[in-house]
Symmetry: C2
Subunit: 299 residues, 2 copies
């Protein structure tokens, strides 16, 4: 797909708009819990692409949504994502001192506060998402959106994927297990982002399912590209150490299927995602470009 | 207040009923996430008094509630409480190997799974609570109950209290800070238990507030009694080491106000709780006895 010349500009503008929305929902740093709020805001303010809330807001527009009700869900989704980053970095998990060029939350506020601020941010996501009822009282759409958000986050979604990833550490995996981890750990929140828009805009469940499939393919393609880049990229071009999977003897799509097989699968997935997305009568060319950029990432 | 001779029997019976309800909502141990579910169920099945769900179900009955809608909230509340125990025991927090005579969750399943199973259980609580909409579609009561549950759990509730407790570790505290920690860390979920019943039964906000106050006083009295027992009790009678507060140079209500001051305050709080509870036209003598037992605990 051709990328419009000013895609980058529009992306920058829309990311800035999304950023503004997120800031509105952050907790105030006051009273005895000021440090807890500060730890949460420290992690939420670290520079990020804001992909999930941006995708959510764009998928809402795509299906004709025009109300404020998508905003609390956009903020909640980024909070859930950030919660997972805070806990991933803990010494008990990935033991990372740095995240996006800044010290990890636990490295600044201590390990106990790392655990508690992650917990509180996950809970706060629900507090924020539940405030959507202030925009739409008794709304069946908001109820469905909440159930969807919780499902994609929890045992059947992101956290389920993370737990299998942890349980399989250092063990060889078959394709099924690897796909399960990718689909849950990476795709689940992208699926949520693309489904919450149509759900809140009152789209049919058939269309919501189609958007879920798009999110699933994009997430898988993104993750397989990550495996490919770890082999073919340079540390400079992708901004992190390369060949780390081989060093850590990690099962990846490349280790299972070889480089050409992985390239083929990533291409197939991103073509399939685009075909499905394009089959909808509802259009959002910007979102289409964003999804392709994700699925075909070169860094 | 006189305790009826068969209070213990009724309590045992009602606890067993509550236990049965909780079991219904536990995740199945199947598929690739079987270990995650097992870690969650290990902690949820550890013997507990089930006070919070029991109080919730009794406060629902007290206000005339007769539907199943309180059950998912009862399960969710116990899940949130158990989540806090799993994370409290982690090496980064209290570093406890044992909980209720069993190995702590992290000590059995590893530290990474300790973090993730706690996260997943917190999230699962919302999945379960959101299933209440299956009993009552578009219910304003369910919406209010969800908002209340999230608020009492999060930054303005239990997790806020835990974070201040962690931040103040090893530092002297004034009465205001100590009360804040007790009110949030201990009282918040008890308040939620007593408020969710009337909220779900459609009681007036005035009565819900009164039940909140009862929960707050009972929680504070409970916590001050804990401080007193640490000084006056024997390890055998209270089932845990005594004089630990003094050893750890912890600020407690006893260290701030002395033993007689603490005794007076606990008695004042439990009398006040009972006066408020008794002022309601809605009655539940069993719940009244349970609350007094908590506020006047001798072990």
């Amino acid at each position: 797909m051709e990328r419009s010349v000013n895609f980058k500009e529009i992306l920058a503008e829309k990311t800035a708009e999304t950023e503004k929305i997120l800031q509105k929902y952050l907790p105030r740093e006051e009273g005895l819990t000021a440090e807890l709020s500060a730890a949460i805001n420290y992690s939420m303010r670290a520079p990020g692409k804001r992909l999930r809330p941006l995708m959510l807001l764009e998928s809402y527009r795509m299906f004709g949504g025009q109300e404020q009700v998508a905003e609390p869900f956009a903020a909640a989704l980024e909070m859930i994502h950030t919660h997972s980053l805070i806990h991933d970095d803990l010494p008990a998990l990935d033991n990372d001192d740095y995240r996006r060029g800044k010290k990890a939350t636990w490295a600044v506020y201590g390990e106990a506060m790392g655990v508690l601020s992650g917990d509180t941010l996950l809970n706060y996501a629900y507090e924020v998402a539940l405030s959507a009822f202030d925009c739409k009282k008794n709304s069946q759409e908001v109820i469905l959106a909440l159930q969807l958000l919780a499902c994609k986050t929890g045992i059947f979604g992101m956290l389920g994927g993370q737990s299998v990833d942890v349980a399989m550490e250092g063990r060889l995996m078959d394709e099924e297990t690897l796909y399960f981890i990718y689909k849950k750990k990476t795709s689940a929140l992208l699926e949520a982002a693309l489904m919450l828009g149509p759900v809140l805009a009152g789209a049919s469940s058939q269309k919501v399912r189609l958007m879920e499939q798009v999110g699933s393919y994009v997430g898988l393609a993104f993750q397989i590209r990550d495996d490919i880049l770890d082999v073919t990229g340079t540390a400079k071009s992708i901004g992190k150490p390369v060949h780390s999977d081989e060093k850590n003897q990690k099962t990846t799509y490349v280790s299972l299927k070889g480089l050409p097989g992985a390239e083929r699968e990533a291409a197939r997935l991103s073509a399939e995602a685009y075909r499905l997305f394009d089959s909808l009568e509802e259009k959002n060319p910007f979102l289409g470009q964003l999804l392709m950029q994700l699925a075909e990432r070169q860094k």
